[in-house]
Symmetry: D2
Amino acid sequence: MAAADSGQARIEWADAQMPVLAQVRERLARERPLQGIRIAACLHVTAETANLMRALLAGGAQVGLCAANPLSTQDDVAVALSERHGANVRSRHGESAQDYAAHVAAMVQSEPQITIDDGADLIGAIHDTRPEWAAQMLGGTEETTAGLLRVRGLESQGKLACPVLAVNESRTERALNDRFGTGQSTVDGILRATNLLLAGRTVVVLGYGPTGRGVALRSHGAGASVIVCEVDPLRALEARMEGYEVMPALAACEHGDVFVTVTGGRDVLRAEHMRVMKDGAVLANAGHFDVEISLADLDELAEGRRREVLPLVEQFTLPSGNRVNLLAQGRVVNLAAGQGHPAAVMDISFAAQALCVEYLVAGAGELERRVLAVPAQIDSEVARLKLDSLGVQIDELTDAQREYRSAWGFAREPHGGGA
Amino acid sequence: MAAADSGQARIEWADAQMPVLAQVRERLARERPLQGIRIAACLHVTAETANLMRALLAGGAQVGLCAANPLSTQDDVAVALSERHGANVRSRHGESAQDYAAHVAAMVQSEPQITIDDGADLIGAIHDTRPEWAAQMLGGTEETTAGLLRVRGLESQGKLACPVLAVNESRTERALNDRFGTGQSTVDGILRATNLLLAGRTVVVLGYGPTGRGVALRSHGAGASVIVCEVDPLRALEARMEGYEVMPALAACEHGDVFVTVTGGRDVLRAEHMRVMKDGAVLANAGHFDVEISLADLDELAEGRRREVLPLVEQFTLPSGNRVNLLAQGRVVNLAAGQGHPAAVMDISFAAQALCVEYLVAGAGELERRVLAVPAQIDSEVARLKLDSLGVQIDELTDAQREYRSAWGFAREPHGGGA
Amino acid sequence: MAAADSGQARIEWADAQMPVLAQVRERLARERPLQGIRIAACLHVTAETANLMRALLAGGAQVGLCAANPLSTQDDVAVALSERHGANVRSRHGESAQDYAAHVAAMVQSEPQITIDDGADLIGAIHDTRPEWAAQMLGGTEETTAGLLRVRGLESQGKLACPVLAVNESRTERALNDRFGTGQSTVDGILRATNLLLAGRTVVVLGYGPTGRGVALRSHGAGASVIVCEVDPLRALEARMEGYEVMPALAACEHGDVFVTVTGGRDVLRAEHMRVMKDGAVLANAGHFDVEISLADLDELAEGRRREVLPLVEQFTLPSGNRVNLLAQGRVVNLAAGQGHPAAVMDISFAAQALCVEYLVAGAGELERRVLAVPAQIDSEVARLKLDSLGVQIDELTDAQREYRSAWGFAREPHGGGA
Amino acid sequence: MAAADSGQARIEWADAQMPVLAQVRERLARERPLQGIRIAACLHVTAETANLMRALLAGGAQVGLCAANPLSTQDDVAVALSERHGANVRSRHGESAQDYAAHVAAMVQSEPQITIDDGADLIGAIHDTRPEWAAQMLGGTEETTAGLLRVRGLESQGKLACPVLAVNESRTERALNDRFGTGQSTVDGILRATNLLLAGRTVVVLGYGPTGRGVALRSHGAGASVIVCEVDPLRALEARMEGYEVMPALAACEHGDVFVTVTGGRDVLRAEHMRVMKDGAVLANAGHFDVEISLADLDELAEGRRREVLPLVEQFTLPSGNRVNLLAQGRVVNLAAGQGHPAAVMDISFAAQALCVEYLVAGAGELERRVLAVPAQIDSEVARLKLDSLGVQIDELTDAQREYRSAWGFAREPHGGGA
């Protein structure tokens, strides 16, 4: 009961930070476009996710939820969502791999018409174990790059049996969530774990995709010098033009105080890198999987001299005597050491998710059975609702401007003056 | 002779700032892939352009050049390029509209196999007056959005007779030149014209495309508060998330000290806006055409009370007594009041241009007769050469990483941690 | 025992972040200049403070410690400092006012020769209850502006009986700790309490002293728009020139999402302000005392509609229905909701403190009985050791430069070019 | 006549940018407190200075003006100020050293009661040649650090015969003009001379006083990476904490693309530095005197291989083949290559100057004959007028707050939360 109260308070707090989703929920509650639809989600079980579930329930759906990552479950939220809102929640913080699998299986057994994934575990399981059910689904949505890779794997093998909307490739998602959400929460996670002063320190960001940009931006904003490491020449050049130092990882290791991997690849920091790091170096991963920092190399280098020095900090002592501090076992640091994306970020993602679910229902039987882009009108609608919620008003084109623009084709911006 | 000396000194100074193009030129000089090809260009006749011409000449081409804008011609450079390097230059600073047209016509008459445009005047003229020659061309390149709109107009009418490479839509161009080149040079042009102190002032940026972003970034970097006006909700939202105030233009007019239009549209600042501006407001345009600030409205409002107060500043006194200062007659301010893009920016554009010309020659007869994207390998090559020239080295993927990546499909970056 | 282990781990972690103090400790351990000196401190009982105590113990002193604020005590650290290092620690997290007073009294009873204060509670108590002992003291140090006001109050009444060094007025302290330490930790405290996304939000900073500057800087660095409110025209002007919006508090209340008071005054946010705030406004105090936000006004406005919505967030519902969220009961948010200053900041303060203690001992009987500035050589020594610890090397003047400079008097910098 | 017109237009343009001085002028015109006072000024003869002269003339003074630097004189302004406003102007752009001296001597001969200096040439000349007149002066004001050193030299030798107000040490001056004025105009001067793109480049700032901070801030704001070189540990530490790289000059020379000296010392860049610079390095000086870059070393290294490559750029080719580009012969670059301080900056300085002159007249016979600080009320008044002119309103303390503050002594800001 206390758990349900505390969980409900969290859900309400998050709700107050999620005005876009709230507006969508209110409309869904009026229109009930999801009446009777069976939806299963495999997401981080947090207060923000709870509000997505509430929106779907408000629209008339039957909703099940299991965890995309056992460590991110907020148990009190799970209780409140189940007891107070009527979702079928199967998740417990720190659950075993066996329990985790059982919970995903339970979601499969609910024979969902729509799935919502953060890593493709659920839609993958349906295709693996019940392909005939997959073929009857209205579709799925996927929140991560990693998950999309799995879904596209299915597609390229000709096995994808239903449409899947690539939510994390929507314009709002790329432009806002990776950069602002993960940027802030990664730095926040590092500070919570270590309470380091970033001013005067050097942060090395490995990988300069949207998320890496966010981490670099916020690290700089917190007073750190930033070094970027990249393998793509154009991205490396952008980082340099934006004012960061750019150099190979090995060179950066001599300068860095804090290292953040966010490449999407594996073994970005290896023994050769760790050997040249300064005493006290801090290693954090902001990529989806915990394979970017080679734990095997770190463990081998330290020859067993490792210990927990703070709740989320494990310290490895190298033969040189230098100490390397690993945060959250190399798991994604904004979730493992912080509270993940702020609700305001998830507001955008989850409002888009809710609109995508509505779109899948509305398009029943007419959408192609492949990975689909989020329709532009959903992006636009989300941005519009978000601006509203921020109290920001914008201009509209005059008729004369609209005419001028269409006379010219459909230019969005000028080339701002030449040579 | 003195002009040729001074022009040659400018060309050499620019050359020293254009190491990417210089590397391309050296290779073209060795390989001579353009041997005997007739090329005509309609570009701003500046020291940077001269270096592009030199690269093409070095590759074996016959090269003609007229001006894309009579006001941007550097006469001494024109002389040096003609006398010292052997290009056929037809341009004079401040030439009449009649002379301008005659110069373009002369370029048409040279029956070029390849055209290089900054606004599509030349390729347009060939299609208009000599469509049969257009059909025999290897192709053209276009440097501006405005020009591409014209070319795409031809394409949509089924009249485009040769392939055209959209240079300004290349990744390097969008990521770097609009943002960094026009951003810096627009603020620079405003300071040269006015010597205003930007710290403590408010700059209103109308339009938040790549160029508008650059103007906002550099204005902020110069100490100004920045207000962004947009019509696109997602762009408006990005501006707000990046920390700028966002509001309708009319509201912004009460706060702004300096206004920069960069929308690609027309009549962005009209009488209704001018009426509410503060005394001393400064108006500058950074869009390609001089139609973004309504000069008609300004003139009408001032009822003839206008005078030049500084070489590039015309002051209009409104009925309220408030004075509005128009820079460079509303022409693109980075060119009209400054020196346009820094050579280092043009280095990237023009190295890409030279590689595009080589690509058109190599692809003779095999390219489709439509607007084509710049091939990714040209972008990558330009970025690589530019990093080299900055002395920046980057990492390469290990074999294991490459394998991991391809096992996953071809992900470029991770989703950096979820809800 | 587990507490001592965990406390010791924290102390060691902090020690690794405090290389300046560690270098001072090592020298004190060799030279033992504090042999037998009785020192009592009234400070926040944290891992960083523990390292100051260790340095003094290493120098030969007998050391006692009570809490400057009952809420900042880390109990495990208190245990470890007592059991493992031999300090006399009297403090417990959340202790009653009665216990708090008893602990201060116990420190007085130890008849210290030197006091170290963070708010002047201890030196005040000695002067109040044992003025004869105060007159025999070698001196004290004070870490806060608020404490110095109390000490200067004693001085102006002719009651100050020993020298007191104004540590928080040292150049290193003003230039670094208030701005960087409190700046980062205040934003960190707000994020820990709320997990708000700052990008796209407006933070109102009330008070633009060194700490307010830090809060503004870091809020901006985290992506927020910043409005500054001030009563001093020159400070207000500086804020404006630095790019912030500046306006009266009442006007700012209509725009702000987060409010941070840091004026040193009282009732900065009152009923009139709260009434016009937006729904969801967050109020945090970063000033020393919890009087900057009027809790009385907030409580009265809400007419009892208040509840805890997150562990450190109390929500007040106003008659309009708008909800105002108060963090940490209006106590200093970087301590109450975060972990206070990062160790690296305290490193500088506490290294200065240790050197000040040594200075008081060395100057026994020769220092004036008033508030004294920290000697410049201590500032310089601290900066030098800190640069060393960051691996930063700097230049020295050449003989010719030294001569030129002294020929000119003792200029520190040029006027950089006039009108 | 044309010159007077163009000069008058400049003066009016500057006047519109100098609302603080304009308000002071209007009051002086009403009150005529300077009636009949003889004032001589040795300042940069620019449109901004002309407006200071106008304010003094409006107050009733007789005003003479010669140049503090022959290269900064705007001839048309000199003509207009003389013909249209009645000042006695003795200055011509590029005048010979002999003429320069004659002009200063003419000012001495006017037997001024008050002097206004930018480098102490005039007050120095009076003390040298007419000490008896100096003893009868009401006083002088001095605008530069370098000038103050000379005046303090007189003072320490017991020769200073009248009070001198240290205008450039006023709070407004240090906080605003050096940082914002010289910061912007130095970067502006460099861009005008070179049109370099700063994004992606590294700017090395040698000297981190107020001016150096401004140069670093604006260079960073223009997209450059910044390296700071310092000899003072605390300043070096501040630069590092503010996010800049800090290293010895010799090490910085390997990384830098642009070098700006602003130390107030001499021979900051010497042969040993130049030898390791990259090809194309740009050297600029922002300090008052042209001794910071060793021209002798540069010339010797180049063995005569030097030439002008752009109007303000001289290129030296070193034995290695590397080219080093010197701007404006090492003279203060914001004046020599740009237009010096923006009018808005001079507005603050010159409003303070005018108020200082009024203060000297009002205090006739009662001020000490030494270097005096600008009274705090002048600083406050200037800041207040400037905020007014920016349309910025601020709060006032409530009575309760005032009482609280005075109960506490006179604290200006809090210590923002401790350890």
